[in-house]
């Protein structure tokens, strides 16, 4: 009991004194996840928008695969990237295994299907309402995609935040392809797993509190965006 409260106090101390080791891990985590979210957003918006508007053979199959991939277990995503990047794999020459870039690739694979599938859903709902009017105004399919992405902006922000939430909290994929190497590929989640097993509860607790705080901020942002959207009747 004394140990736990000591660990808790020590964790708080690390946070308020901005412990360099703690900051380094947080910074790497944010860098990896924000990069992955940016890439996944660019791909996901384009794929989701195109799937909602264009009609082509195999469209339903692509949509079904995307929906299935939304539930892709992170360790499986990690395994796939590991196999691709390992020395024997097709991308082995890039020597990316156990680098932050490998972790970014794994997170992109993990959250792009989420962003794409939710974007498709958002755009299809809007298109249902807009289709006749946009065709009457003479919009091309490409113009319709851009219109839907812009008019769905509030919901799409929440989609991106959902992707961010999943990526920042994920441990399986980055553990496999990053290997939790100190100063190189140690993220918040992998550090928590390692430090806990080593008995360094204080650092694990500090990182856990930061992760919780991030989750809280994301959810407050979501609420604010929803409120703003309904205020403008843009929901």
């Amino acid at each position: 009991m004394l140990d736990l409260s000591h660990a808790f106090a020590s964790a708080l101390w690390q946070i308020v004194t901005l412990d360099p080791q703690l900051l380094e891990i947080i910074a790497l985590s944010l860098k990896v996840t924000l990069t992955a979210v940016t890439i996944a957003t660019l791909i996901g918006f384009a794929v989701g928008g195109v799937l909602a508007v264009y009609r082509f053979p195999g469209r339903a199959a692509v949509a079904a695969v995307l929906n299935a991939l939304m539930g892709l277990p992170p360790v499986v995503a990690g395994l796939i990237v590991y196999l691709l990047l390992s020395n024997a794999g097709p991308l082995g020459v890039l020597q990316l295994l156990y680098t932050p870039e490998a972790m970014i690739i794994a997170q992109v694979i993990l959250i792009t299907p989420i962003v794409a599938a939710l974007t498709r859903q958002t755009c299809e709902d809007l298109l249902e309402e807009y289709r006749d009017q946009l065709r009457s105004l003479g919009a091309s399919s490409a113009e319709i995609v851009m219109t839907l992405l812009w008019d769905g902006r509030y919901r799409l922000i929440t989609v991106v935040l959902a992707g961010f939430g999943r990526a920042i909290a994920e441990v399986g994929a980055v553990m496999i392809v990053g290997d939790n190497i100190d100063h190189v590929t140690r993220t918040m989640t992998t550090a928590i797993a390692l430090e806990t097993s080593k008995g360094n509860i204080a650092l694990a607790l500090a990182l856990g509190m930061i992760l919780l705080a991030i989750a809280l901020v994301v959810n407050v942002a979501l609420m604010g965006i929803r409120r703003l959207a309904s205020h403008f009747a843009y929901a």
């Binding site: 006749d132 065709r135 009457s136 105004l137 003479g138 219109t147 008019d151 902006r153 403008f232 009747a233």
Partner: protein, 262 residues
């Protein structure tokens, strides 16, 4: 031929008429031949023959479920007929002809943007230069009495204001033909009146107006000619005065008298 007279009458609108003359003639006449639409074995539009040559306001009248909205969507090219021919100014319907028209729907469809942005967006799609869009949007908003709402999010406007905005957007495109599907069906009398005034204004500017309604009073107030539709069939097409005084069919007579038409 027809454009010459208005050119002499209104030298101010020379520019507009000029662009219309340079494109392939006027949209009129609208000709339908044996136009039919079938879904699931049901004939929703049944072999409609029609020729509209006159400017002014044509009202498509009939009870709910008569196929009025479908007919409007067909002539605007939003749905494809199962059978038959649609010609505007002698040409089959295509994207180019649709770009010379504008349509207003029963339920206002407005983008999640400000009122002004809804109009500049439509102008952009029609290839109007960016520099010209704002002034044209403001002009259209003034016409509809919505200038103080220019920067209000379109979807927080009242139902009547939203429909006026849709009409303003349609008019800003300077269409040759304006199609409206029950534009006032869910509006209060004051909003209905301002919509009808805008339609009469459009008529005086030389725009062909085709409006679908099931409201006999509205048809009386607006129509030069009436197309009466029932069960997907064109029952009669007459000048408004003759239609309301001496309807040829029993169904039209019963409908005008306010009876239920089965």
């Amino acid at each position: 031929m027809p454009p010459i007279l208005p050119m002499l009458e209104q030298p101010g609108s020379l520019a507009t008429l000029d662009t219309r003359a340079s494109s392939s003639g006027h949209v009129l006449p609208l000709e339908l031949r044996r136009l039919s639409l079938e879904t699931g074995g049901r004939r929703l539009i049944d072999s409609v023959d029609l020729k509209l040559e006159e400017q002014g306001i044509t009202v498509i009248l009939g009870p709910n479920g008569a196929g009025k909205s479908l007919l409007l969507r067909l002539v605007h090219g939003l749905i494809a007929p199962t059978d038959g021919i649609i010609r505007w100014g002698g040409m089959p319907m295509d994207d180019e002809i649709r770009r010379r028209q504008a349509m207003v729907f029963q339920k206002p469809v407005l983008l999640r943007r400000t009122a002004a942005a809804n109009i500049t967006y439509a102008l952009g799609l029609r290839g109007i230069a960016r520099s010209e869009r704002n002034s044209r949007a403001l002009q259209a908003l003034e016409l509809a009495g919505l200038e103080r709402h220019a920067f209000t999010p379109a979807r927080v406007l009242s139902g009547g204001e939203q429909q006026r905005l849709c009409l303003a957007r349609a008019l800003s495109l300077d269409p040759e033909a304006l199609l409206l599907d029950e534009p006032t069906a869910s509006l209060d009398p004051a909003s209905t009146l301002s919509i009808e005034r805008l339609l009469i204004g459009a008529k005086h500017r030389g725009i062909k107006v085709i409006v679908v309604t099931h409201d006999v009073g509205q048809a009386r107030r607006l129509a030069q000619d009436v197309i009466f539709l029932h069960h997907g069939r064109l029952i009669e097409h007459q000048p408004a005065e003759r239609f309301f005084e001496h309807p040829k069919s029993d169904t039209a007579r019963a409908f005008i008298a306010g009876g239920l038409v089965l």
